[in-house]
């Protein structure tokens, strides 16, 4: 049966229904189309599409978060989508990308293109380009380092996704770290300490800088020594056990390692000293036990310490020797002081004996004769007794002069050290029949008084020693002034000689002041004593002392010894032009008074004035114009010789009669050379003095 033919009305209804269905479909109000299997397929497809849509939403959220760069491309290499982060990494604008002017291959830096180029082909042939480092070439020429990967999404059309992570900051951090490491390494290499790390668990070693290799004398080509090798090969056997113990102790928590040991280098050079310090720690990555530390070559320091130790030992030894010597010298000084006291007492006794045994009896005798005179009325008898008294006084004077010379030779007072030396020559000959071959420098004077007397005394003692011990009858004496203004005296003989060291050790200071005394006294004024002698080879003693020049603080010995200033001179008026005018010059008041009393007994003699020193004498000679000047030789700063010379230079008609206690040839010659008419000893009888005076005035 044929179905009934639809009416127009039916068709119209069906059309309206179809229209409604289409409208509903267009409006998206339809969930499924119901059929045999179709609606199920549609349902599955819809679910798939929904899943895709959800995935897409998630992906978009990820892309929009811009945590990583995400882009899509097609098989032609065009970029179809790119998120902001990826856009920033490439450095291009979105317009450039979407306009197709830029594709992935042009975005890549040239150095990466050979490897990563031709994306389309690669993605067609393989689904994934695994993660690796790229660099985007930005329009400004800069690079953006990235960690990227790509994956094909659909095949075979080559739609792909690219993911990239910006490594710029990581690279910057790496660069900074690298630079920092470089600086650290440079600093480590410039240090004079070696830096090392030992991994005990793995028994490996890392020597961090060049100095570490230098200290242990190893080439960088060789591997650094492991702990076991280090202990066996490098550490000296004397320190090995102690090193191992210290190393073991350092592994206890809280302990450090510090050890100084001797090491050997592979080249068998000298043993070096090394100071090693370190600290154990546990490696975070593999929990192995490690020590990091430093090593320092302290060989030089050790050498210095050893040198200092040796020097200290030497110094201590010297101090001990010096202390012993000082103690010995102190002992000798004590002995010397005792001896000096004894000598002083002996000298006092000697002087007392001379006074008591020789001078005092004479004076007593003279006094007894004087008493005799008081009792006598006979003038002749008085004269006889007076002559006896005069004789006794002369003898007294002679004794006293002898004593004076013995205490302090007048030659020193008159002619300084040179005079004293010459006196010694004469004295040694006269007293001991000992010949001195002298060579005395002309310019040794002036020197200070103290030095002069000390040198004279020392020389005298040296010569006595020579006489006593050398067994010779002659010796050499040399006195000179050196260029550095020192007085140098050499006493040499060819006699027995002696061992100076043994002599110093064994010398008996209780019986003699000896060389030690001389040496000590010389040291006191800055001088020194040098002895060169050997048994059977004679002796040469050199004595050196500073020759101070004359100054106000240090009185000097010159010809004419300044004794003392006394009362001002007496000036008298001449009685008559016919009388003889006398000027008396002497620094002893009593002597002047005695001379005045003696001369004034003569009717034709007038004492016009007295002077106690040379300057006054010169001035008075000018004003008083005496006929005769009785001149003492020893006046002080300006000697009687100089005063004579100056008086006669201005008043050549004046006659000068020299009077002196010292009757040595040199003094006499000097006075005559100065212009004196007569030279008389002060012990000369008064009538002879007056007679000589008259003689010289009358031209005799």
């Amino acid at each position: 049966m044929n179905p009934a033919k639809p009416t127009y009305r039916d068709l119209e209804k069906q059309l309206a229904h179809a229209h409604k269905l289409l409208q509903a479909i267009e409006q998206g109000q339809i969930d499924v189309i119901v059929g045999d299997d179709r609606h199920m397929q549609l349902l599955g497809l819809k679910q798939t599409i929904d899943m895709l849509r959800e995935n897409e939403r998630n992906f978009r959220a990820l892309a929009d978060a811009n945590l990583i760069g995400i882009g899509f491309g097609d098989s032609s290499g065009n970029i179809t989508y790119i998120n902001d982060e990826m856009l920033r990494m490439t450095g291009y604008s979105r317009a450039d990308i979407l306009a197709g002017r830029i594709n992935w291959e042009t975005c890549l830096a040239p150095e990466k293109r050979p490897e990563e180029g031709n994306w389309s082909e690669r993605l067609v042939n393989q689904e994934v380009i695994s993660v690796r480092e790229w660099a985007f070439l930005r329009p400004d020429g800069g690079r953006t380092p990235v960690l990227g990967a790509a994956s094909r999404i659909t095949s075979p059309d080559g739609l792909h996704v690219i993911i990239a992570l910006d490594l710029t900051r990581m690279r910057q951090a790496e660069t900074l770290t690298w630079k920092s490491n470089q600086r650290l390494r440079m600093a480590a290499n410039s240090l004079d300490i070696g830096i090392f790390e030992w991994n005990l668990t793995k028994d490996t070693a890392f020597w961090e800088n060049d100095q570490m290799y230098r200290i242990f004398g190893r080439s960088r080509k060789l591997p650094p020594l492991r702990y076991s090798d280090f202990l066996e090969q490098a550490v000296d056997f004397r320190d090995k056990n102690a090193f191992a113990r210290a190393f073991s102790n350092a592994q206890q928590p809280g302990n450090g390692f510090a050890f100084t040991c001797r090491i050997h280098r592979p080249d068998k050079s000298a043993v070096s000293w090394v100071e090693i310090t370190g600290k154990f720690y546990q490696n975070d990555s593999d929990l192995s036990l490690c020590m990091i530390g430093i090593a320092k070559d302290i060989s030089a320091q050790k050498q210095h310490e050893q040198t200092i130790e040796e020097i200290n030992d030497l110094l201590e030894q010297r101090v001990r020797d010096r202390t012993a010597k000082i103690q010995k010298q102190t002992e000798r000084m004590r002995e010397l002081a005792n001896k000096l006291g004894q000598v002083e007492q002996k000298e006092r006794n000697r002087l007392a004996a001379i006074l008591h045994d020789h001078i005092q009896p004479l004076v007593v005798g003279a006094r007894m004769h004087l008493w005799d005179i008081y009792r006598k009325n006979d003038l002749d008898a008085i004269h006889v007794t007076a002559h006896k008294i005069e004789g006794i006084l002369e003898e007294s004077l002679a004794e006293m002069r002898s004593l004076t010379v013995d205490l302090s030779p007048a030659a020193i007072l008159n002619d300084g050290l040179a005079g004293g030396a010459n006196w010694l020559v004469t004295y040694m000959k006269k007293k001991f029949d000992f010949t001195l071959k002298s060579r005395i420098d002309d310019i040794i004077d002036p020197i200070s008084e103290n030095t002069c007397f000390l040198i004279f005394q020392c020389t005298k003692e040296l010569l006595f020693n020579v006489v006593k011990h050398s067994g010779e009858k002659q010796a050499g004496l040399s006195i000179e002034r050196t260029k550095d203004q020192k007085i140098k005296i050499i006493v040499s003989d060819n006699g027995n000689g002696f061992d100076p060291d043994a002599f110093v050790e064994t010398q008996d200071y209780t019986t003699s002041l000896g060389l030690f005394s001389i040496e000590e006294r010389l040291k006191d004024i800055g001088g020194r004593l040098k002895i060169a002698s050997a048994p059977g080879q004679g002796t040469t003693v050199t004595l050196t002392a500073p020759a101070e020049k004359s100054d106000e603080a240090s009185p000097t010995v010159e010809p004419g010894y300044n004794r003392r200033a006394e009362d001002p001179p007496v000036i008298q008026v001449r009685n008559s032009k016919d009388s003889i005018g006398i000027l008396i010059v002497d620094d002893h008041k009593l002597l002047r008074e005695g001379l005045v009393g003696l001369l004034e007994m003569e009717p034709d003699i007038t004492v016009l004035g007295e002077a106690a020193d040379a300057d006054t004498a010169i001035a008075l000679a000018q004003t008083l114009e005496p006929d005769v000047v009785i001149m003492d030789v020893n006046l002080g700063k300006t000697s009687g010789m100089d005063a004579t010379r100056q008086i006669l230079f201005k008043k050549p008609h004046i006659k000068v009669i020299a009077l002196s206690m010292h009757y040595d040839k040199k003094t006499i010659n000097a006075m005559y050379h100065a212009g004196a008419s007569v030279f008389l000893n002060k012990t000369v009888p008064s009538d002879e003095l007056i007679a000589k005076m008259r003689d010289c005035l009358s031209g005799g």
């Binding site: 109000q29 339809i30 969930d31 189309i33 119901v34 609606h39 349902l43």
Partner: protein, 94 residues
Amino acid sequence: MGSPDGFCEYQMRLFVAGTERNSVMALNHITNICHTHLQGNYTLEIIDVFENHAAAMAENILLAPTLVIDTPFRETIVGNLDNERLILTALGIR
């Protein structure tokens, strides 16, 4: 769903596709309309085409959701039933 005394002036069937979006919307809309305008005087049968597609095929229902009104007038409405006026007209209320 519907009148308790067994006679209802309005009898309807709603063909849905599970809990799909439009199906859920359609159910919500017709429920609201029944509650508002039919005062319990109705029956509404819900048929899930995923579970009972034979019923849909028997009624020649091609799309889901679709509302079939049996009484007072036979009428078929396709879609999510968001046009309330159209439904009330089909029910003869307006």
